[in-house]
Amino acid sequence: MENLRDRRALFSAFLFVPLMGPILFSVMTTLVVDRAVGEAKETLRLPVIGAEFAPNLMRFFTENGAEIVRIELDVNAARNAVHNGQENLVLVVPAKIGADFKNGESAPVELISDSSNSKAQRYVSRAHGLLDAYGHKLSVLRLLARGIDPTLISPINVRVVDVATPSGRALILLGTLTYYLLFSLLLGGMYLAIDSTAGERERGSLESLLCLPVTRTQLVLGKIAATALFMLMALSLTLTALVIGMRFLPLEKLGMASNFSPLIALKIAAIMVPMAIFGAALLFVVGSFTRSYREAQTWLGAVLAIPTLPILFASIANVRSTTLLMTVPSLSQHLIATNLLRGDAIEPLHIATSIAATLIAGGVLLWIATRLYQREKLLG
């Protein structure tokens, strides 16, 4: 209805959000993937006191990708160094370890670590794992030396089997994606929603509009329709950018596959159409209460967070789709879009419920919006 009006603000909304988003997303995902791949190859820097007492243990560490750093400190100084964060961990090997090994006794070694230092944890657990492995190797040798079958001391043999499909694993990364899609959808219409409510008031162009031979209901519906249209345009831009961007992501490095095809993108867009109507009506209603552009920006910025709350809840609680959850706008779109990306089958009932519930909620908001515009306080 009054679409091409505020061209500059709209260009910034369109270019920045949908296009910058996927670029940022691609860069971040690439970094995460590189880090995950890099960690496995990274050498473990292991400061050791008394390395000379256990040459075999040191060789075992070196063979398994650790770098032994000999340090000359007493135990208290080493504790302080770990406490201050100068070192992530320090291994203390006592002088009598050689004698303990020879006598077949249990040799005490100290692994000094700080459990409040979260970034050191992965080094500590790797060092701990290596120590355990070495200890296991020794115990097997000792049992064999005494003529006992080593399997006797391993009554349970745990094998972890990861059954996640490659695209299922990719989903952990793509989980933020559906959130982002919803966000870009809402943001795409935010400027128009602000402009057609608070902007129209602040500019003083509202009274002139009300003097035109159109009913206020028509006026409100036209404004909301324009907002919803812009939301869908922003969404299509974002989806297009993602379909193209996903091809360049190094997901296969992690053994993941992304099935973000143009067809999936179209299905997601279709699922989001009721959400655009709901979102446009929601932003419009909130915008109608505000008096100035600035006020509207503050409020609508906060409102943008509301549809993302159920998604946050869902990702924490790790919920699966149920018909009941399909009645929640934004959450149902998130779940369906996630399933589409996962490549899972989706129940038609879920889709129908999602569309119906979101449209009903949107309809209620539309009704509220038209009621708001019948008020005389509108002109302030």
Partner: protein, 246 residues
């Protein structure tokens, strides 16, 4: 023809209009005169169907403003006090947009825009974005926008406030032109010279009531004043005096 009968209007606890009645006839310029807060804008807003009266009624060309608002809006051109333009659209686009909302076809709209552009002498600004327009330029665009549907009845709420001399003069010529076309022009002002220079009929409002009305000569005669400014002050004082004694 605009007829207003016994309008009353409350805003919360404040009674903005008590009893306002007058008629603005075709082919005449009627001035609504009153100090700030007297109820001029409220009266005009009720006639332009933006507000509803608690009591009484406003009728434009025989159509009740409360019952047939859409019909009234088609025969009425309104230039509200706050009449903002869309800053990112050109002058022509601003006017065209309103023409489209009125439902006219493209040729009619473009033809009328050209007519108004010539009449208001604003050909050179038509293709520019209205951002940064002077007050006078903005007013010309708003006026053309308000009159794009060639209404027979025209309401102007304080059109000359903040205008320079040349622009005020140009606006007066336009208003007189509308009168010669046989339109009914109702405009409000708190500036005496303006009203006396333009109006065929004057309605003086104070505290939500019509204090006196008639042609300038009639008002001078009824108040016994030698000029309109005195008449205005006397009418107001008389009314206040009678309100106090009663």
């Amino acid at each position: 023809m605009i007829v207003v009968e016994q309008l009353a209007k409350d805003f919360g606890a404040v009674r903005a209009l008590h009893d306002v009645s007058f008629a603005a006839r075709d082919g005449r310029i009627t001035g609504l005169l009153g100090s700030n807060g007297a109820g001029k804008s409220t009266t005009l807003r009720i006639v332009s169907t933006v507000l509803r009266a608690q009591n009484g009624r406003a009728v434009v060309d025989g159509h009740d403003c409360a019952l047939e608002p859409l019909t009234v809006r088609r025969v009425l051109g309104v230039l509200p006090h706050a009449s903002g333009l869309y800053p990112h659209l050109t002058a022509r686009e601003n006017i065209r947009y309103y023409g489209q909302l009125h439902g006219f076809d493209r040729d009619t709209i473009e033809h009328r825009i050209d007519e108004w552009s010539a009449r208001l002498d604003m050909n050179e600004i038509m293709q520019r974005r209205t951002q940064g327009f002077s007050h006078g330029q903005k007013l010309k665009v708003s006026l053309a926008r308000a009159l794009i549907h060639a209404p027979r009845n025209i309401i102007l709420d304080e059109p000359t406030s903040g205008l320079d001399v040349a622009a005020t003069r140009a606006l007066r010529d336009v208003i007189r032109g509308l009168k010669e076309d046989g339109c009914c022009v109702l405009f409000s002002s708190h500036i005496m010279q303006e009203v006396s220079a333009l109006c065929d009929d004057i309605v003086i409002i104070a505290h939500g009531r019509v204090v006196t009305s008639g042609s300038p000569d009639e008002i001078l005669a009824s108040t016994g004043a030698s000029n309109l400014e005195d008449a205005f002050m006397r009418a107001q004082a008389n009314y206040l005096g009678s309100a106090v004694t009663s």
